[in-house]
Symmetry: none
Subunit: 419 residues, 2 copies
Amino acid sequence: MKRTKAVIIIGDGLADRPVPELDGRTPLEAADTPNLDRVAADGECGQMDPIGPGVRAGSDTSHLAILGYDPFKVYTGRGPFEALGIGMDVERGDICFRCNFSTLEGDLRLEGDHFAGAKVVDRRAQRISEGTHELAQAVNGVVIEDVTCYVKESVEHRAALVLRGPGLGPNASDVDPHEDGAVPHASHGDDEESRKTAWVLNQFVLRSWEALRNHPVNTQRVAAGKLPANVILPRGGGVAPHLEPFEQKYGVKGACVVETGLIAGIGRYLHMTVPTVEGATGGADTNELALAQAIIEMLQDHDFVLCNFKAPDLGGHDSKPDAKIKAAEKLDNLVAYVLDHVPAGTHIAITADHCTPINFGDHTGDTVPIAISGPNVRKDTVQSFGERSVVGGAIARIRGFDIMPIMTNLMGVQEKFGA
Amino acid sequence: MKRTKAVIIIGDGLADRPVPELDGRTPLEAADTPNLDRVAADGECGQMDPIGPGVRAGSDTSHLAILGYDPFKVYTGRGPFEALGIGMDVERGDICFRCNFSTLEGDLRLEGDHFAGAKVVDRRAQRISEGTHELAQAVNGVVIEDVTCYVKESVEHRAALVLRGPGLGPNASDVDPHEDGAVPHASHGDDEESRKTAWVLNQFVLRSWEALRNHPVNTQRVAAGKLPANVILPRGGGVAPHLEPFEQKYGVKGACVVETGLIAGIGRYLHMTVPTVEGATGGADTNELALAQAIIEMLQDHDFVLCNFKAPDLGGHDSKPDAKIKAAEKLDNLVAYVLDHVPAGTHIAITADHCTPINFGDHTGDTVPIAISGPNVRKDTVQSFGERSVVGGAIARIRGFDIMPIMTNLMGVQEKFGA
């Protein structure tokens, strides 16, 4: 039996709702996308619920589902994926937290099993936007007994903390008191291993206070009449899940050609190849042909490539129909190059990870279109790729979690379940 | 409310992919099947994923799902279904293994917790094809303490072993070392009950060595220059699951009119009636009208009959389009008789347990068509029974596991879930 290769191309947030300014069409319907239509006309089409009907998917949960990892089982806490999303190196078993740079007033100390001596004045340090890289560096790599603490800044006052060391449990409570005016809560653990995590976490918070309270960034902030970002308050802890590496799970080598840290982080975590693509900015100005070329290059020694194209999502979040139409046409250009250069007989799937409607400005739980072309697909009568044109196609309605079984079945690489 | 009876007729491996030699039609599309089409035209139609979208189903897992037993929960290890499949009597709680007749060199003995003194020369005893019935009989029924060991040969070097007795656990490791040149592994158990299983299993292997090393079948093999099949090496142990009997689960009497040992075994295991049908060979030459008559007979004192018609699967595995077309037409003939003789108002469902495409030669995970006729079905516009013609029908896309709720709902025998 001949095995085939496969490419899944995901327009991030590509799907939408009818837009009055577009005469009731969606941006995808309004865009000129002959190559997306070609995949639809040659293939089997339908609707997909990235997670489940009506469920508003994140890009992280959707990509996990599309890659065949049930997000209801593996997405345990935001911490690990927050850390992955900002490009941190996360290993299975690490305990990860979301954090804020916050403003404390007083003199923080531990008294037995609780913090005392200081109150949170502003959990977000006036949404500090500059100098957080320097603040994070001041505590990144701190070692507390046999545990190393990795810290990296994210957007504004946000950051992530990764604890790596032996015997750490996942169930340590938040230090962030979740309200201004309160004393930070000392973390406590539900079990012996989580009590170790809690102890390390509390020590880390004290160390952050010591390292940041007189940090030059804060001295300058105070001189400028701003609140200092003088402590790091963790919350939302979770253990980095034991996800089976992609190649081990499916028996094929996989690559991720992507633009955002979050999806790249998921790909690396699954031990997939994640090439650096010059010119892939993740913005409206991205070089879509560079992405397409990377897909073709990866196919030389990989069986499976997932590509995430970020631009449509930005048009949706910014509520700009024109930008989203242009992004869809860039995606079409990417697909044109892929169709012209893939090895004959390659399976191609086109879909989106969620809707980001212009008139909502964030992700919604509507279905997204999907089209799959290549040998042995159940070709139907659908002629174009759009949110409504795929209704009635042979795929009918599936979930993101169904895609990998469908693709590995078509690729001829799936083990039979039973006799 | 009037209760109806129901028949589900399953063309084994009936569904296929477009075949170039058939001008891009599938064998089912190319076959002359006016009676299958009549059910489709009178009924509601759609696509079915036997297990889930894209999942390559076995006949065992698919029939479990179609009968309403979730294979992801009940299909724990190949052993029990391997034993059922070759017609062994299996009872709930039995510990079942797949086995090989293998060739040992040396003098096998147990030393403490491991085997010693002999190595596996050929795990498959040169794929022995004759005399295995006699070899199995030489150890079948052996009693080790309070456990009886049942052995039956399967195809070539394969066999199954059923351990029946009190206090046996399912988690005993393989004796088969899975490579030639190795000493057999003494089985060990993960818990007290599984340790008993492991102890019995090791004793059984020694007993098989004693019974087979000088067996006449092997004396003759050695004289003919062949390797002796002088030991039985078990692997893949699993406990026969506690499946609720069909009648208890649904409140209706059920029968299985089938041709293969595997499906007959599942039917018996669910305490369904499994009649012997004269002329049902399981081959291309089978008497399909004998099967149809058996369905009608069973309907006299049963509410539900499942029929599996094996021939289409053979055409798929053998990659013979003509054989598969003929098999589909035989199935049509079977359905013609059933339609003409069932009590008025009987619900009829026609489907397949999986695809066995001509050009793949084994099961694939594509959808299969389903049509259901009878009172109160949601009749749609579909006019013929085929892989593509049912797309857009009222059933849309369901799973095998959905069929029994749909049928018992139509039959008027299902308990309400809630108030």
